[in-house]
């Protein structure tokens, strides 16, 4: 199997990382060599194996339904790249 430029462009779009021709070619090369090594996994038969998502052998613990956070808007907004006291600001969304 090989990963072509079209695939690279598709996944770069999904990842929201811009990729020019040169970068796409470099990535295709890297990914192909990495996947060649990953393919080794396919030697294994895993037909009746349960997938393992987490090694933490415990169940999800519950939180009680209490409001604990006060208004921390200043803290939340403080690190944002655009100055605005109330909102996060992003370039206009084009639909």
């Amino acid at each position: 199997m090989s990963i072509d430029l079209k695939t690279i462009k598709h996944i770069s779009k999904l990842s929201r990382i811009s990729v020019d021709e040169q970068k796409a070619e470099k990535l295709a090369g890297d990914l192909n060599s990495i996947f060649k090594f990953i393919e080794k996994m396919n030697e294994l038969n895993t037909d009746n194996v349960e997938p393992l998502t987490s090694v933490a052998e415990t169940t999800l613990k519950f939180r009680s339904d209490e409001v604990k956070n006060q208004n921390i808007r200043e803290q939340i907004i403080k690190n944002s790249p655009e100055d605005n006291e109330d909102f996060f600001v992003v370039p206009k969304v084009v639909e």
Partner: protein, 485 residues
Amino acid sequence: MSDITSQTLTSLVKNIKEKKLSSEEVTKAFVDRSEKSKELNSYITEDFSNAIDKSKKFDEKPNLDLKLPGIPIAVKDLFCTKDIRTTAGSKILENFVPTYESTVTQNIWNEGAILLGKLNCDEFAMGSSNETSFYGNVQNPIDKGLVPGGSSGGSAAAVSGQLTPITIGTDTGGSIRQPASFTGTVGLKPTYGSCSRYGIVAFASSLDQAGPMSQNVEDCALLQEVISTYDNKDSTSIDFKRGQYSKELTKDIKGKKIGIPKEYRVEGMPKEIEELWKKGIEYAKDCGAEIIDISLPNTSYALPTYYIVAPAEASSNLARYDGVKYGFRAKGENLIDMYEKTRSEGFGSEVQRRIMIGTYVLSSGYYDAYYLKAQKVRKLIKNDFDEVYKKVDAILTPSTPSSAFKIGEKKNDPVSMYLNDIFTVPVNLAGLPAISIPAGLDSAGYPLGLQIIGKAFQEQEILNLAYAMEDKINFKNKITDWWIK
């Protein structure tokens, strides 16, 4: 006071408790040495003057009942620290100042420690040589031009170079143990769920664990005792009975059964590593342990599995770095353009590569073949360990397939870089604790480490084994202070 910085954590704590040293003296000594060690590039952010102020304050009203009274500690820059810039080694977080503290670092400050600064690491902990950091390479104190390993490279160099008495790193596939091995220091990756992940910049959530890095096993046990707490802010934190690791430390390991997995004898492994392993087996026998040959048949599939699971989780974990709420933002004509430029300019090439791998293995049509398959193989790898742990108490392996390599040597060959983690990765996949201890030097005089893998939640057991073997090995790191003019 150069003898201060060469002391172990345990002896510094003792000296402060006995009032032979003040926190200020100790802090100034490490600040002073750190100032002289810029060439190592261990720090991303220094907090030296604050540290000295805090040490003075500590000395005014010293609480000597604490476990780390007035001890200055620098930490990996993956832990969020309140009001101190936290970058994760990335440009995308260049100006990010958290308003909160990670649970693990909070535990350290609660025991009286003082933050010295934030240590360099591979970008988002993705790397095995510290070369992916936006803030530059870290030099290994062992020799100029040598990588310190990664991703906790700055942490390993700082302990080895005595810029901090002890530190914490994070380990997703070997990021504590491999740099510990490369720098002649001790590094422990605890059981998954032992240390809270709250406030640690995430790489791969199902694998990430914080852990101590130190000059010796005793220090390591003490710090593990401090940082390991159950935390209800982390849904994967596990509520088990945590030991008083440093108090319960013993060299009596008589009758312990240690497994030697044949699959770790990999093709092309340097003779020196093979020799080291054999020596390690002899040391373990000398300590009274029983050696048992074991098999972990799916070992060779661990790396491929890891390089699916970790990038998959990372591709999603790193989606939040989008230029909207914090961190770097590139100018864009519209929202999507802004996203694409921000992430393309804000992330380095290794991080982008892993995001791409992760996105690919989760994408429609490939999920079953890669991600789901990897989760199944992960199960088989865990089963391997469960099976052998019916027979043995711990497993002994080399920590890495080679000693530290030169800066730039593997930078352009991702696969050969990834192969560095071959012995450490299975442990993360199975969520087990493992410790790397320095066990010898290769012909170039570079340190080599041995890894002891334990049963889940049995940190005490591997600390004891390491403690006993450390005594027999009697390793001495050769640090010449070459970087101090």
